[in-house]
């Protein structure tokens, strides 16, 4: 571009003016960021070229092309140029020495042609460049693909991890050799199969759920362990890791798999160790209890669950006598026999520890468990070779099942343990089936036994006094002291229960002494108050007390201490207590009788009535048991016989100079009959119930007596 020198020449001034006009038309036609003055200078150059050129058309073409080169690619730039040139170019026609050598129309055509040619070339260039760019971009992408494919292939094919890609329907679309090895199927077989279908049936739901979570986009990653089947029937444990791969509209999942089978087996082995007894390899307590829980949870409507609780008899002796190695041999053999007896599916024999074993079982027939217990008892009985000996071993078994009131695992274990205790208590080498009522009675006895001991210390016992009246006039001549016990929780306890219990636990001696002491105190009190009219107190003595050689002395000392004449004390003994060849009881009674203590035979006629004792013992009175008196009531089925018996006893007693007391007199009729039969004394509800000592006092001083008028005998 030539730059004309600035000067006052009219031609230059006119051109300058023209260029500025041209620039104003051109500005804003295209995106060419240039200042208007700068554009004007450029266009002035173009104008000068066209004016000064020897070949105006060539120059005009070049100017047209230059406009495109400068970026005026919008056709409105050409339009503005053509307009400007057509209107004002060349600015002067009378330029000295420079005649118009070309016509304006030709000039315009040349500019337009040059512009069009350049624009066409520029457009082609740009198009070519963008197409080249597309091709380059594609090539680059393909190279990147190739590179990533190579990496992918390296990863995919040589990876030790199993890898597969699954489609939205969980079909495998690609799988690598490692996965094929893990599943022991060729890659070609894996492709198009569903990943879920390859999992073991019990694991399919978990696998399907994890895949569904990712397909649905609810999670972006998941891991799970699942077992897959192999064609040879084996199982491979895979730890799966799932991640989505977006692919256009659909999402595939990449699943990588680690073979976890060894770890699983190791874990299984560890878990076996944790749940089995190392000595016998039987399930241990934890597994047995777990199985029991499972059985109870999954029990069918017509099924029962039961357990046998086993304990070897005298196992400690085996250990002590033959050593622990022998003991272990015994345990192993017993365990094997136990397992042999428990062949039913779902049943389980386990070792709880020491020499304790257990069988848990479930099934429709609970008696099968009893039969198994039977089998086990006889199986254990077979001699066991241990440490060079043939040892005889036996077992005790407690059996129970869920038909007991509470049947949670702990209840069953406790019940079986109780039954086991019964089997042990009965001598072992047997089984016992738990019985709730038996256990309840035992439990009550045990509670009462505990209470009995403390009752003595706490003075929970009381004595009630039942008057013994003379039938001729109804005046009380004595009172039977009756022991009463009120348990702080269970309330009044029947004497037949707590007396037996006291015998059993060895408390009867103390209790008997307490009764004697307290009864004598009371009798002494009556004696002080009533003098000769005072009643004697009649106290029951147990056979055991009678065998206590110190009884007589102790009793006489007590009488002296409380100030009671011996004649105001009567001891009652049952026939069975008096029987026997031993001399002790006889001596005691002789000693007491010698001091004036009355001796009465209680419940006469109900025991083994070997009347010989009447000859050698200082008996003073016979008491006819209430059972016979009951039969005296008119219309009673036993009446004729009972009346005869009572009459015979009265006759016998009177024949031996003994007096007779009828017990259990409940009606006026009975009382009148007894009186008419010559019976001396009577006691029973008709006269008075056992009560406070005051009742006696009141009856004796004349308030509340019950005279018995004579009635004709029938």
């Amino acid at each position: 571009m030539t730059r004309p020198g600035r000067g006052p020449e009219p031609v230059s001034a006119a051109l300058d003016e023209f260029a500025r006009h041209w620039a104003r038309s051109m500005a804003r036609t295209s995106y060419v960021p240039v200042r208007l003055d700068d554009l004007g200078q450029v266009l002035l150059g173009h104008a000068e070229r066209m004016v000064g050129s020897t070949d105006g058309l060539v120059a005009a073409r070049e100017v047209g092309a230059a406009l495109v080169d400068d970026g005026y690619t919008n056709v409105s730039a050409l339009q503005a140029t053509v307009s400007a040139l057509a209107e004002r170019f060349p600015p002067t026609t009378a330029e000295p020495g420079r005649p118009d050598r070309i016509a304006r129309t030709e000039l315009l055509g040349a500019v337009a042609a040059g512009y069009a040619q350049a624009l066409r070339e520029r457009t082609q260039r740009e198009l070519e460049s963008i197409i080249r760019a597309v091709l380059t971009a594609r090539r680059t992408a393909e190279q990147a693909w190739a590179a990533s494919e190579a990496r992918f292939e390296a990863l995919f094919v040589s990876s030790a991890s199993g890898i597969c890609v699954v489609d939205p329907e969980n079909r495998i679309v690609q799988a690598n050799p490692a996965l094929a090895r893990m599943l022991d199927r060729p890659v070609a077989e894996l492709v198009r199969r569903r990943l879920t279908g390859l999992a073991q049936p019990s694991h399919r739901p978990a696998v399907a759920e994890a895949l569904a979570e990712l397909h649905a986009g609810r999670r972006t990653h998941a891991e799970l362990d699942a077992a897959f089947g192999r064609p040879d029937g084996g199982t491979v444990w895979l730890r799966l890791s799932l991640a989505p791969v977006p692919h256009g509209e659909v999402t595939h999942l990449v699943v990588t798999a680690q073979d976890d089978t060894e770890r699983y087996h190791l874990q299984s082995a560890l878990s076996h160790q944790a749940l089995h007894d190392p000595l016998t390899n039987l399930p241990n307590r934890a597994l047995v209890l777990r199985r029991l829980d499972e059985l109870i949870d999954r029990l069918g409507p017509d099924e029962h669950v039961g357990i046998c609780y086993l304990d070897l008899d005298g196992f400690k002796t085996i250990n002590d006598s033959f050593g622990h190695a022998a003991g272990d041999d015994v345990l192993r053999t017993v365990a094997a026999r136990l397992a042999g007896c428990v062949a039913e599916p779902g049943w389980l024999a386990g070792r709880l520890g020491g020499d304790e074993f257990v069988i848990v079982a479930a099934g429709p027939d609970p008696t099968r468990l009893v039969r198994v217990a039977e089998r086990v008892v006889s199986a254990v009985r077979q001699p066991i070779p241990a440490a060079g000996h043939q040892l005889s071993v036996s077992v005790s078994i407690g059996v129970t099942d869920d038909r007991i009131p509470h049947s949670q695992p702990a209840d069953l274990m406790r019940a079986a343990d109780i039954a086991l205790y019964w089997a042990k208590a009965a001598g072992g080498d047997r089984y016992e089936v738990y019985d709730a009522s038996r256990h309840d009675a035992q439990a009550l006895r045990s509670t009462l036994a505990t209470g009995l001991r403390s009752a003595l210390h706490r003075d929970d016992f009381t004595l009630r006094y039942q008057p013994i009246v003379r039938l001729t006039d109804g005046v009380p001549i004595g009172a039977e002291a009756l022991l009463r016990w009120t348990h702080p929780e269970h309330g009044p306890v029947a004497p037949e229960i707590f007396i037996d219990l006291a015998e059993e636990i060895g408390l009867i001696g103390q209790l008997g002494r307490w009764v004697l002491g307290r009864g004598c105190q009371q009798a002494a009190s009556w004696y002080r108050e009533l003098g000769e009219r005072a009643p004697f107190v009649s106290v029951n003595l147990s056979a055991r007390q009678l065998h206590d050689v110190g009884l007589a002395e102790e009793l006489l000392r007590t009488l002296a201490e409380v100030g009671l004449p011996p004649t105001r004390l009567q001891v009652e003994l049952t026939e069975s207590a008096l029987l026997g060849p031993a001399q002790g009881p006889a001596d005691v009674l002789q000693a007491l009788a010698a001091h004036g203590v009355r001796v009465a035979v209680d419940d006469f006629g109900t025991g083994y009535s070997n009347l010989a004792y009447l000859r050698r013992l200082p008996v003073r009175e016979l008491k006819i048991a209430g059972a016979f008196i009951e039969g005296l009531a008119p219309g009673h089925p036993g009446t004729p016989a009972d009346r005869q018996i009572v009459a015979s006893v009265i006759a016998l007693a009177h024949g031996l100079n003994l007096t007779v007391t009828a017990e259990g007199v409940e009606t006026l009729e009975q009382a009148q009959l007894l009186r008419s039969m010559g019976c001396d004394h009577a006691q029973g509800w008709w006269f008075a119930r056992p009560g406070d000592p005051d009742v006696l006092t009141e009856m004796i001083v004349g308030r509340g007596g019950k005279p018995v008028d004579p009635v004709p005998t029938h």
Partner: protein, 268 residues
Amino acid sequence: MSKPDWAPDDIDIDRPSASRIYDVWLGGSHNFEVDREIARKTELAWPDAVRYARANRAFLRRAVRFLAAQGIRQFLDIGSGIPTANNVHEVARQFDPEARVVYVDIDPVAVAHSRAILRGDERTAVLQADLRRPQDILDQVRDAGLLDLGQPTALLLVALLHFIPDADDPHGAIDRLTDGLPPGSYLVVTQGAHGASDESDEKIKELYRRTPTPLTARDRAGTERFFTGFELVEPGLVNLPDWRPDPTETVDDRYRGALIYAGVGRKR
């Protein structure tokens, strides 16, 4: 092994591209019929689209001039598109021939074209990357070895952010990219707020849904949030043509009706 049949395709010239549509409006021919169709239809909805493209380009030029005058010699131009006249490096070099520019675009065709144009230029580099993966950009910039991000640098996000929805966290990406830049670095942003009318906005959005980069408009507050940690230089956040206009330039960039924010912030 063949390319997996589930793997996605990458270069797709059957889909229009934002950078080639932009080229149409600037009078270029680096485009295809799919691009020109969108350009024409957009112009039907908003006849000033061409003026907008020029205004955006003119703003970029003014902003780079401003930054160069402040002494900035490193430019990171993300969303650089198809190079045309007066690219960043050309403007910057008017101040200092040593100025360095890294162009980044997500469009592999734009990147290939830029590389072709700039082949042999040792003070420019062109990277294919995605603003939504800022760490990848930082890694590639470091690998290119052209910019020292410990020195004041201008991050140019011109006519880019309205292609990135909030769900893709452009704010987080900008934080990540500018975190390590020293104070005195700059952030340049243009962001469409609205076009000539709601109706035309909807039409244009619809058209751009056919491109890989649909439009997201942001209001002033949404745009100002990009400048967290930056201080906006005068005249603040304004309509594109109003940012330090140069009345001597002969560019017809006074579009009507629309509001496209432009702003330059200096890192505190």
